[in-house]
Amino acid sequence: MCPDGDACVARGGGSEPERGPRGASLAVGVSAPLTMFRYQSLEDCPPDEDEDAFQTLGEEDEDIDQFNDDTFGAGAIDDDWQEAHERLAELEDKPATARELEDGTVSDEMDLLGHHEENLAERLSKLVIDNELEDPAIMQAVQTQPSMLQPGGLNSSIWDGSAVLRRIRGPLLTQEMPAVSVLEYALPQKPSQTQEDERDLSERALPRRSSSPVIGSPPVRAVPIGTPPKQGAMANFNQQILCPKPVHIRAPMQQRYPAPYGERMSPNQLCNVPNSSLLGHPFPPSVTPVFTHLQRAQLLGGAQAGRMSPSQFARVSGLVGSPLASMNPKLLQGRVGQMVSPASGFRAFFGGPPPSAPTPSQQQHPPCPGSHLQNLRPHSQMFRPDTTHLHPQHRRLLHQRQQQNRNQHRSLNGSAGDRGGHRTCHQEQLRKDPYANLMLQREKDWVSKIQMMQLQSTDPYLDDFYYQNYFQKLEKVSAAEEMHGDGPKKERTKLITPQVAKLEHAYKPVQFEGSLGKLTVSSVNNPRKMIDAVVTSRSEDDETTEKQVRDKRRQTLVTIEKTYSLLLDVEDYERRYLLSLEGQRPTLMEERKQKICDMYDNLRGKMPGQERLSDDHFVQIMCIRKGKRMVARILPFLSPEQATDILMATARNLPFLIKKDAQDEVLPCLLRPFSLVLYHLPSETVTSLLQQLANLPQSATAPAPANLHLAAVLQNKFGLSLLYLVLSRGEELQSSHDATELMQDNQWTELMFTATRELLRIPQAALAKPVSTPSNLLSLFSRYVDQQKLNVLETKLQLVQGIR
């Protein structure tokens, strides 16, 4: 008897195909697919199907079962649900022995491959009283007899029966991409089940998935997904029935019970399919990390051949319910093996040892996670951040912070405090978490694997730039601090992220056969073209001066950005140099030099094949805040001449720049690179620099009453600081051994007089506050001014610290 009587062409077993009008139509419908599959008989198949439908059908009667496997996965039998129901109703009255179940399960839960399917099938077959309906051929092939009957609505006993163990295991073990796996039937609550709460959670095996599949119509949910069960942890009962139609699923029943079916088992116990990944008790959904093979590799002490991927496991922290310390190594191996094979990218993680030989590396693993887990256990509370994958610096910071918090709490609350109480309360709740174990560990791993695959990057340095550099900087800072402090340095662990080989995908848009033209299939990689943007360039005539000004600024901004890209590239060269091979290094150096020159040209506005005419370009750049910052960053890379040139240009236009900088006040960022440049300057350069600052023409003219240029400089923080630096440098040169030339330099003396004059003249209030006052200024001034003025200068400029 078929529930969908209409759809049934014929019954299993020796029954005749239905003939007659209905039979004819059905036969026609059937023969078409028949011919599809029966390749060898294509030639035989008569062109006129209507006539020969019966014939064909008759011919194929003996082979009618040939395709059972294809169609049903050999999982379907015709079952009499009513009888099954009655049978099970009997069973229900006699509760099973709990112990038996448990023992049976424990031994079987590790069985991922469904070795006991056959046994179970036999036992089940005993249950099925009415055998005459079964086709012996089918029975041989079938390993389960689930009857996915749906008389409408939830009839508990139906599910309780053979329908029970319809777990389709994710195909991880069968070398396919993992797929659907949660297939359990919604089971109504039975009072007799309360005792089995714990057991329920502990076992769920995945029956072996041997062949076809599944899925026809959308799942019918007897109980809506996500409904928390009424009693305790009955998470098994939030389920999906994947195929309401009968006989599609091959869902072999996992052997779970040592006792035959006929023995005392409550129907609901049958539903509790052994769960391979749970071991005896539910997981606290605390964030104990899932120990995938990659994390284990990490645990094994970091950069084992650089196979860590801490940053890429940022998301694994979300995973819940990892197997606890008593994790079965076999499980791991089984799981790991599969995880590696589908994703070729993951091969990179194992690098040398190919995935086909994971066992040697894995043998080290089982002891590790256990120990680590034990370490983590005392810490684990709800939602503790999973820190195993973070940069070591980051991890340290996090731990410090957490300890601080903990201490704070302790001090606040006296005892273990809120957190402690909270913790135990949580843990209790966790034990009875109604949402636990909705997914198998394998399923969770699969989902996380997908996420991880998306995180695979060909260049982790580039993709994860901010994170990596941020912590590198932190480390440098803390290293610098430590150098001053304690002697021995802490172990500097490095964050190593594995790299996946770049796969070149030539994207080919989907093409359909037999279609006229190309059909556009819009997807993530190939989004539909919404806007047709066309670039049009404006003609010169239309522009007004305002526009021109705006455009000029825009042009400058573009130049700045271009130069910035060059700068970032140049800054990166050191790293690339270290990574590159010997032969490539000269090329790299050349490239770097070239880029530096380009940067300089950009700065000075030099077009190739043109002499630099004005500072205008440079000044424009310096008017923009990010331009100034960029110059500060570029300076260390420039050659001394180039750097000097920049310095001169800055000094020349300083008042203008000061005016423009009034809002941003970013000029002081230039001081440090300028000072670095200054320390290498020869004396004549220093002189001319001072000249620029003072804005005196080459030949000394009649001294102006007030040197506006210099005055402006003095009133500005940057200007004053720069002046000090220059003066300091001059003093250095003078006081050094071969300083005679500076002494003899008239210009220098002139300039010094000018400078000191201006310094004396300017009211103290107007004087800016310099970033730092060099100590040798006093001695410098003493050469050029008398004692009285020296004292004035001293107090004004606060040249001497401390008590005189």
Partner: protein
């Protein structure tokens, strides 16, 4: 049984159930990763502001916060008992950060690099 499933073998699920996030979010992801463990305030598009410690973030910029408290006057009493939460990335309007945890120069560099990458 002699029922033939006319559509043959159906592959159960696609290899990636959700589309990958845009490349332009990589910087945000990297940035938020560096903020894990810090206190932030997340303002959602429904005007709810949640203050908490950033526990984790993923490539879709979904955020998990621990020890949360609703910053605004507690006109959201249903949040009183909530200690930890998961926020889907698409509903976030703002994330307020501690300023000293951010290296703006590095962030600018990262943004420039990402822009360069996208151009290529």
């Amino acid at each position: 049984g002699r029922i033939f499933c006319p559509w043959g073998r159906i592959s159960p699920l696609p290899s990636s159930p959700s589309p990958p996030p845009p490349v332009s979010w990589q910087l945000f992801y990297s940035f938020f990763k560096s903020l894990v463990g810090k206190d932030v305030v997340v303002e959602l598009k429904n005007d709810l502001s949640i203050c908490g410690t950033l526990h984790s973030v993923d490539q879709y910029l979904n955020i998990k916060l621990t020890d949360i408290s609703v910053t605004d006057p507690e006109k959201y009493p249903h949040m009183l008992s909530v200690k930890n939460c998961f926020i889907r990335g698409s509903v976030v309007r703002y994330v307020q950060l501690p300023a000293d945890e951010v290296d703006t120069q590095l962030l600018q560099d990262a943004a420039r690099k990402e822009a360069l990458q996208q151009k290529q």
